[in-house]
Amino acid sequence: MKADAGLSLEFTLHGADFELAGAASSKIKRILQQVGVKSDVIRRIAISSYEAEMNVIIHAYHGEMRVSIYPNRTEITIEDEGPGIPDIKLAMQEGYSTASDHIRELGFGAGMGLPNIARCCDAFEITSEVGKGTRIYMMILH
């Protein structure tokens, strides 16, 4: 590892694979603990990576999650192939959700995901193309 290269991790996410839901976030959390990042920062990273991971599993077909951990920050990029989000502004509103009733019954898709992520991050970007997929970038300072 070079001085500022950071540590990179990659995860492949599969839509509708609820058995593995949260596995990537758990692993990220464990590594951050091993690295010695402060616990409140870990919490913010864990919550946002979990929400983003769940978004892919609930809404998309397939996704890639790339995590880079540097001494002073963590960056996470998630790109998925999926239906995309037609109106990002709307999706960023609390309580807005396109999840089916079935998903809601499972306790997900309450429409808090994206706003929750945005709240936890120091930098947050989202781009989406309907019919193709969504890309989320988040950065949290340590």
Binding site: M1, A3, G6, L7, L9, G22, S25, S26, K29, R30, I31, Q33, Q34, V35, G36, V37, S39, D40, I42, R43, A46, I47, Y50, I69, Y70, P71, G107, N116, H142
Partner: protein, 437 residues
Amino acid sequence: MRLIAERCKGCVNCIKHCPTEAIRIRGGKARITESRCIDCGECIRRCPNHAKTAVTDCLEHIKQYPFNVALPAPSLYGQFNSDVTIEKILESLLQVGFDTVFEVALGADIVSRAIAEYLKRPDIKRPAISSACPAVVRLVQVQFPELIDHLIPIDAPVEVSTRIARDEAVKRTGLAPENIGVWFITPCPAKMTTVKQPLGSETSNISGAIGISEIYGDLLRAFPDCNGGQKLRRASPAGIGWALSGGEVSAVQAAKALVVNEIESVNGVLEQVALGKLKEVEYIECLSCAGGCIGGPLTVESRFVAQYRMQQRVDGKMNPDAIGNLSVNVDYAAVLGGDERRVIEPRPVMRLDEDISRALYKVEVMEDTLKRLPGLDCGSCGSPNCKALAEDIAQGTACETDCLFKLREKVRDLAREMVEVADRLPPPLVKQSGDES
């Protein structure tokens, strides 16, 4: 937690079940990294050779004090047949040498009321997590430091009982507080360690703790001499119910409460809380032992049998007239330990290095190593699983050939190399057949 080395066969049963991966087998014997140990007693339970024990006090030790109070944990009552009344159990404690008894269940009664009050506060972090089980508190410190603020800042029933019992004994005997021995009759080593390294309060008021299994035989022998005739103060069935998983919640009468027991499951639920879920839950009762304290590693009876008996007692089927006179006049703030309490600190023992860059480097080594390991998690290397071995390698306390499969690979490669080298012997040294003649 102590190891009886002669008994340990290095069978890896204990390392496989330690929730914080605190145990390794080195030199054929189990070794515990103290800083990671949360004293849940899982290794005691899992060791087929009874090589793990908890350091507890014994009856001998009480002789150093002129006056001694026994503090029986409610789980003690589940250890005996239902025809042995609680009165009789309390009397047997007097019989074996204590001067007086004070039920921890009485402390639980007081704590239940305090928690009920606490839960009404609008400003607290929810879900509030019970802090009664010291192993759970330690798990939070080690694995979920971000949840420390969720722990209920009220001392455990045993601490509360100790304060009242010592005060009462001082008044009764005129002795100085330090001349009074207050002994907890405990179901678990977690509470034992609390005595030595207290969690919430600055110093523990308890003089020592005696494991239930340690004193069990003495009590059994004392029963014939007890007739249950002494009028001893008694806790309510609700206080006694704290020994059972779910007992705390029903004593506190918390709405929207979640009950979880057994350390693995506690781990799982806390993980959910840490992810920001379960926000609508008011109160989580977490107990490290399966079934609650009746399943404590220092208990004697099968926890199912104990559970049945406890339930009988809690339901008031036993001694219907000895019920619930909480006749202690106490200054709540003082006994609940509000002032003395120290903040519970995180214990970041999972981190690989003080220096963040070096820690990152070690994680990278770990991840690389992990890819090369077979992923069978067999434990033969002395680490609980491949991931832990990779961590040990990154930390420099183990090497790749500790893995049997890696070793075999290496031996095979070496053997191949040897054959190759042998074939490459310089021609003059190769004996020709017929040279001898």
